[in-house]
Amino acid sequence: MSAATRAASAAISGDRLCPRDEADVAETVRWAASEGRTLDVAGRRSKAALGRAIQTDFTLELAALTGVTLYEPEELVLSARAGTPVAEIEALVAGANQMMAFEPMDFGPLLGQPPGEGTLGGLLACNLAGPRRPSAGAARDHALGIRAVSGRGEAFKAGGRVVKNVTGYDLPRGLAGSHGTFAAFTEITIKVLPRPETVETLLILGLDDDAAASAMSAAVGSYYDVSGAAHLPADVVSRLPAVAGAGRSVTALRLEGVQPSILHRRGKLEALLRARGELAFLDADASRAFWRALRDVEPFAAPLVSPLVSLRAGEVGAGSAAGEAIAASPSPVPLPGGEGEVAAIWRVSVAPMAGARIGAAVRAVGGRCFYDWSGGLVWIEMPGIEPHAPLIRPAVSATGGGHATLIRAGAPVRAAQEVFQPLDAVTGALVKRMKSGFDPAGVLSPGRMYAGM
């Protein structure tokens, strides 16, 4: 332990454990298991407000497990310790004209946090994705290998460093979206891919939600490799600067690749879609700004509320006042405007053509929404403090299947409804058995996803 860390630790309250390496993580979890203590698994706490609100004895912060341990651009592979900031990885691979093709969203703006604070571990634990999800996949599709510590305090690995691998169960994928409840990732290997040379966006103006779904389906189902298809109703367009001037709804279709290909495809798409509405374009810069803002759900962003995330080992410049705030309210992160005044945010995934039905249901009660993933991903902003699960989840079921997750809400609203899509009885029992195999003492983020698990 460095002197600086020791000094920092003395300055703040006693609920944060900051292991330096995988062996420390294993030892900490073993200790917690033997002492009957609980740990909230976190990276830099940028997504602490996601999931059910829980109280644990300690936060297990993996922010000190940093560093890219392997990057071979010609092999399209990168490994880094779980606490490495995503922003650092994105900058590194951009230097070799590569990217994380799944375009992981940054939850910072939506949760009232600064941008760029998420870690690689959090990215996989929350199975992040972006507008390229339908064609390029989510974090789950790009995770090649993991090292992790289960609730047994044992370090284990799964997967490998090659793209094609079916040796043993696919735990890198199976643990994607587990929100730290089965294991704490310590190192992750991902696939990286070349960045497209350039990008343009074709816009169709003034479509209603159903017409937009149909237009997006036609575009994505064409030969012309559309790598993003989103629809912003008029009441959301004004909140996204890149298209705010449109004054009516905007349906956006992204074309990426080499310039000759984009020219060709743009011409073909124009011919395909001209009859559906007035067309407009975003050039490369405007396109990048648009899709990034859309990815990060900026139309529904919360005001910046808290310097919490700067509270890391050796970086306590934010002062002890914020530290005391954590001690008083370990989670959720407080939201702006006081509890109850903040609009609730829901994230819904359904079949692409069914998204508009969800939109109609929420608009009928004063909500707003916009669509990504060709209509299948619906981001919803709901006013008021009553639980909206009884409205939204039946609407999702009525489409034939999908899931609805409460992403942001004041604590009482979060506590009043299930945050994650509830599991049926058989699947729920199965997941509980899996949890008790990985974490028999219930050490790791108990209750974060489901009550009693």
């Binding site: 020791r6 920092a8 703040i12 006693g14 900051c18 030892e27 200790w31 033997s34 002492e35 071979e72 010609e74 092999e75 592979v77 004209n97 199975n127 994705a129 999800r133 789950r140 599709d141 289960s150 047994r152 284990f156 490998g160 460093r161 090659v162 793209v163 094609k164 691998n165 079916v166 040796t167 043993g168 169960y169 696919d170 735990l171 199976g174 994607a176 979206g177 070349p194 960045r195 030969y223 012309y224 690749g257 290909s261 060709h264 495809r265 073909k268 080992a313 692409p352 993933w373 299947g401 999908g402 899931h403 994650f420 899509q421 058989v426 199965l430 997941v431 058995r433 003492a441 996803m449």
Partner: protein, 498 residues
């Protein structure tokens, strides 16, 4: 069968055979239960014909309800169950057990739903891989993963094995293309995971099921995504004087930001075998031949073909031919696709291995394999999914020569251990099955394997689903469930704490 050891058959199950057959006939009436030796013979092995075993009984259900009842009965009576699709496994994944029910899913052969607007197909597990593409081809769509057995292998088997094909680098494996399943647990309980939507919003159980080799449940329905067939596809043949030069070309193409639809490499022996087999027009003076296929919008393909040609020329390729017609593109592939039968013509038997390596290790791996070939006195040719590092060495042997199969298996094991040594894995797309089971400890330690088996325990605590596959040692779940902690030991003096 060579040295393969399977779990000892349970004497009480064998003794109760006629009672078990009768009970299964109650569940699946008529011809759905097969118990004569002659009629069971076709089920005694899968694609790995070196391993054979007659099952206790073959059951061919045709409804999810029947599958549920069969599994519930097997669970209640502690009878092992081996699921089987078309029996094309190249790892012995569908090898029967003497005391086990072989659950053939061939009657689940219907496509239930085609949805072009949402770009999905719902199929029963016994539908062939190619059958899905055929069903949507008239609208210009296809199902992307294309294992070479696609004419016969089933989508249910693809889910079990997480099957790949030659287009994985660009379009992913089965797991990246499956959206949902209905499956039956060993208890007979039926669950649904996923659907026409993306992701689960939480735990990715679907990701765990794909590639689980029939050890976690029996899939009775699969939802896949379909893609629009690329507008154009063109291929380039590039011949090189060394595998190093060909490997450098592959790396340079990727470094240039190009992800080809397919990128295959064949070594000299395979080029000659394929040429002798069907006269594909391959150059015979090269040490390594690359087939690079670009697909997508026409303008893009033409642009990228030129760039690939420039890269190849810059790296000293001896032959360079770009296809100018669909017929020519198909001809370029014909030799590669006939690689296995071509070897079958020059050798009475062969073993097909399936390791994956970091691409940069290819020259080292090829030269070490040449040395092994000399050591074992067996020829070995190589086809290589160069884009994703998946290597398929074909080891030639003669099963009629005493000891040659054992030698070939030892050679194959040495190759796979070499793959792991250079940072790769035991299997890229064929699965562990029984073939690579005993090599698992070369990649995973006891703790790694115990964590995998604990998942198995959550699904199938009595280890009745496909026992003897994937895991070299079957630990009892009770033993795996114990937690070894010494209470009161503390408190990690070295952990920085706030």
């Amino acid at each position: 069968m060579s040295g393969l050891v399977m779990p000892a058959p349970k004497a009480d199950v064998l003794a109760r055979r006629s009672e078990i057959v009768a009970a299964l006939r109650e569940i699946v009436p008529g011809e759905g239960v097969i118990d004569t030796e002659t009629e069971m013979r076709p089920f005694e092995s899968d694609g790995v014909t070196a391993y054979r075993q007659l099952p206790l009984v073959v059951v061919l259900p045709s409804t999810t309800q029947q599958v549920s009842q069969v599994l519930a009965y097997a669970n209640a009576n502690a009878i092992p169950v081996v699921p089987r699709g078309a029996g094309t496994s190249l790892s012995g994944g569908a090898l029967p057990l003497a005391d086990g029910i072989l659950l053939g899913m061939g009657k689940f052969n219907r496509i239930l739903d085609i949805d072009f607007e949402n770009r999905t197909v719902i199929a029963q597990p016994g539908v062939t891989n190619l059958g899905i593409t055929t069903a949507v081809a008239d609208h210009g769509f296809y199902y992307a993963p294309d294992p070479s057995s696609q004419i016969a292998c089933t989508i249910g088997g693809n889910v079990g094995e997480n099957s790949g094909g030659v287009h994985c680098l660009k379009y992913g494996l089965t797991t990246n293309n499956v959206l949902g399943v209905e499956m039956v647990l060993i208890t007979g309980e039926i669950i649904r995971l996923g659907g026409k939507h993306l992701d689960s919003g939480g735990l990715d159980l679907l990701g765990l099921i794909v590639g689980s080799e029939g050890l976690l449940g029996v899939v009775t329905e699969v939802t896949v995504r379909i893609l629009k067939k690329p507008e154009t596809a063109r291929a380039v043949l590039l011949g090189f004087p060394s595998s190093e030069a060909a490997g450098a070309c592959v790396a340079a193409i990727i470094a240039a930001g190009i992800i080809p639809g397919g990128m295959e490499m064949m070594d000299r022996m395979m080029v000659h075998a394929a040429e002798a087999f069907l006269g594909a027009g391959y150059p015979l003076d090269v040490e390594a031949l690359l087939i690079v296929e670009l697909d997508g919008p026409e303008a893009e393909v033409n642009h990228l073909i030129e760039r690939v040609a420039e890269i190849g020329n810059g790296l000293g390729c001896m032959t360079l031919r770009a296809s100018t017609s669909e017929a020519e593109r198909v001809a370029f592939w014909a030799g590669r696709k006939a690689a296995f039968p071509a070897v079958g013509r020059i050798s009475p038997d062969y073993l097909c291995m399936d390791g994956t390596i970091p691409r940069k290790a290819l020259p080292l791996v090829l030269s070490r394999m040449e040395a092994m070939s000399v050591k074992y006195g067996l020829r070995c040719g190589n086809v290589f999914h160069a884009g994703d590092g998946n290597l398929h060495p074909l080891i030639c042997y003669d099963a009629n020569k005493p000891g040659e199969l054992d030698k070939a298996e030892a050679f194959g094991a040495d190759i796979l251990l070499l793959c792991v040594e250079v940072g790769g894995v035991l299997t890229g797309e064929h699965g562990v099955g029984v073939e690579k089971r005993d090599l698992m400890p070369s990649m995973f330690n006891e703790v790694d394997l115990a964590h995998q088996q604990r998942l198995k325990c959550a699904f199938d605590p009595e280890a009745l689903l496909n026992p003897g596959k994937v895991f070299p040692v079957l630990h009892r779940c009770a033993e795996l469930g114990r937690m070894h902690v010494s209470a009161g030991q503390l408190p990690f003096p070295d952990i920085p704490r706030f």
